[in-house]
């Protein structure tokens, strides 16, 4: 059957054909190897096997931890992320526009902002816990600290790199400064702003886990620490996989939102 397909091909084409077939098979091989590695390691040590991990997932449905099954915990984490991001996007975008557009503001605020940015978000946790205890608000604040930088930096970059040409078009049509800001500069910076949205979302997801790992009663990060404390390895592994899946989903959703909001960034195949 393959011979029929390759019948009319030159030597180079045939080689390319077989190579492309090979490239399709390789991923399957590597993933299978990974699963094989996983099961082998599990059999020879205390590392949980795929089956163990899956069983643990089912168990969590039957015996929820702190009253929540896996979806409950994921939701708890996501709620914190959304709360933090809502603040970040409103404040961060506004601030980014300010320091990106107005040179004097940029010079005034940037050194200070960079100083704060240099501090890893997790380092704030003890300080925030001293201020506000370990409640919901303190966790949300931690996530805010951890993901604010990306949106501000991206928005600022977008605003300072507005093409002079577009502003010139505005001048020709007699646009005033306010019109130039809202009708030219901000729309042209939208794709940079969305890059910031994407980065801050993934940053927020990472930080919320750390915040939960250091003191919480719900959320996926909490699940991991629970597993670690009770040497419940399947729980740890299962939580990690859940974290990975949700993280990937968030990234897909934000990319989809970007394409929806900025249809002109779709590249045309020329």
């Amino acid at each position: 059957m393959i011979n029929n397909k390759t019948a009319g091909m030159s030597a180079a084409e045939r080689k390319a054909f077989y190579l492309s077939r090979l490239y399709m098979i390789l991923p399957i091989i590597s993933v299978s190897l990974l699963i094989l590695l996983w099961t082998t390691v599990a059999r020879n040590s205390e590392f949980p096997s795929p089956k163990d991990t899956f069983d643990r997932l089912i168990l969590l449905f039957q015996k929820p931890i702190k009253g929540l099954n896996i979806f409950g915990h994921v939701w708890a984490s996501l709620v914190r992320v959304f709360a933090a991001l809502t603040f970040n996007w409103t404040f961060g975008i506004a601030f980014g526009i300010l320091i990106g557009w107005n040179k004097k503001c940029k010079v005034l605020f940037t050194p200070l902002f960079n100083a704060f940015r240099a501090i890893p978000p997790l380092a704030w946790i003890p300080l925030i816990t001293i201020w506000m205890g370990t409640g919901e608000l303190s966790k949300i604040l931690i996530v805010i600290f951890g993901s604010l930088a990306s949106i501000v930096v991206n928005t600022q970059a977008g605003m300072s790199n507005v093409e002079q040409l577009y502003l010139d078009v505005g001048t020709i049509f007699n646009a005033n400064a306010r019109q130039k800001l809202f009708q030219i500069a901000i729309p042209s910076a939208l794709d940079a702003i969305f890059a910031g949205v994407r980065t801050s979302t993934s940053a927020a997801w990472m930080v919320v886990l750390a915040a939960e790992m250091l003191g919480a009663k719900s959320g996926v990060g909490f699940l991991i620490t629970r597993g670690m404390d009770s040497i419940d390895m399947p729980l740890v592994l299962m939580s990690m996989i859940a974290i990975g899946i949700v993280g990937a989903l968030l990234s897909i959703i934000t990319q989809f939102a970007e394409r929806l909001m900025c249809p002109w960034t779709r590249k045309r195949s020329d």
Binding site: M24, L122, W124, I125, L127
Partner: protein, 276 residues
């Protein structure tokens, strides 16, 4: 002032003077921004608007720093030891990530077969945040140096790989074709054209990686360590010493900035041709 009445050299002088004036104004504004913040900070603590158990004054922090240079209280080590401990782990994990991540990314970006094989593995590892590897590594390897270095490695590995991968993939086709017409082998093109082309993005990846590494290290130290800056902060919190906590934060930030500046200088040396 009607520019027409100025001679050419007067015009140049005027522009130069204006430029100097803007530079001076900008510098002043920056300093005002920072000073204003510090003064604000000092004032709200000293006057008691914010209670002293929530915030120490900048002056107190500075004096604590001097004290900690020689005093091991209350966390068990002089500040120099903590800094060294954190730096060692950060740099070893980071160094490992560069040595493995960058070549891997470059090869994956260039050789399609390798890419097809490694890609799915990488895509599976990628969404899992480095922080979540911590419990697993701790259960496996305890809370020693190796465990923390591995966590840092994971955090720094991903951006190094992604950036060198993307960097080499956007090598200009034109340049590759030029090399091919000169009779270069695939490996030669990879070495002499692909790799240099990817350097900008690779360096960007290194900067992200070090940021990640430093941040994850702090997290790891807070979860399980007996020394290091993250641990020091944790101890500060446990003993209710807000000044120690803030000192730790400041030192972490400063060191992070210094490292980024150093890498920036290295980048300028390697990629200096770009500015021309």
């Amino acid at each position: 002032m009607n520019p027409k009445s100025l001679s050419n050299s007067e015009r140049v002088a005027l522009i130069q003077k204006q430029r100097k004036r803007t530079q001076y104004q900008d510098a002043v504004l920056s300093v005002v921004g920072i000073l204003g913040f510090l003064i604000f900070w000092q004032v709200i603590t000293v006057t008691g608007i914010v209670e002293s158990r929530y915030l120490s004054t900048p002056v107190q922090i500075a004096s604590l720093f001097i004290t900690k240079l020689t005093s091991p209280n209350p966390d068990g080590a002089v500040i120099g030891v903590n800094i060294l401990s954190s730096l060692t782990i950060a740099l070893s994990g980071f160094g490992l990530a560069i040595v493995i991540g960058i070549p891997l990314g470059l090869v994956m970006g260039w050789y399609k077969g390798f890419d097809s094989f490694m890609r799915p593995l990488f895509e599976i590892i990628r969404p899992i945040p480095p922080v979540s590897w911590i419990p697993l590594t701790i259960v496996w390897l305890g809370i020693g140096l190796t465990a923390k270095a591995i966590i840092v490695f994971f955090a720094a590995f991903v951006p190094c790989l992604i950036n060198s991968y993307t960097g080499i993939r956007q090598t200009s086709e034109v340049l590759k074709n030029v090399a091919k017409t000169c009779g270069a082998s695939n490996f030669t093109i990879f070495w002499k054209i692909g790799i240099p082309s990817s350097m900008t993005l690779t360096f960007a990846g290194i900067k992200v990686a070090i940021g990640n590494a430093w941040a994850t290290l702090v997290a790891a130290e807070m979860l399980a360590a007996s020394s290091g800056l993250g641990y020091m902060i944790l101890m500060g919190r446990q003993f209710g010493r807000v000044d120690l906590v803030i000192l730790g934060i400041v030192v972490i930030g400063v060191i992070g900035t210094i490292i980024t500046m150093l890498i920036g200088m290295l980048e300028n040396k390697v990629l200096g041709w770009k500015k021309l």
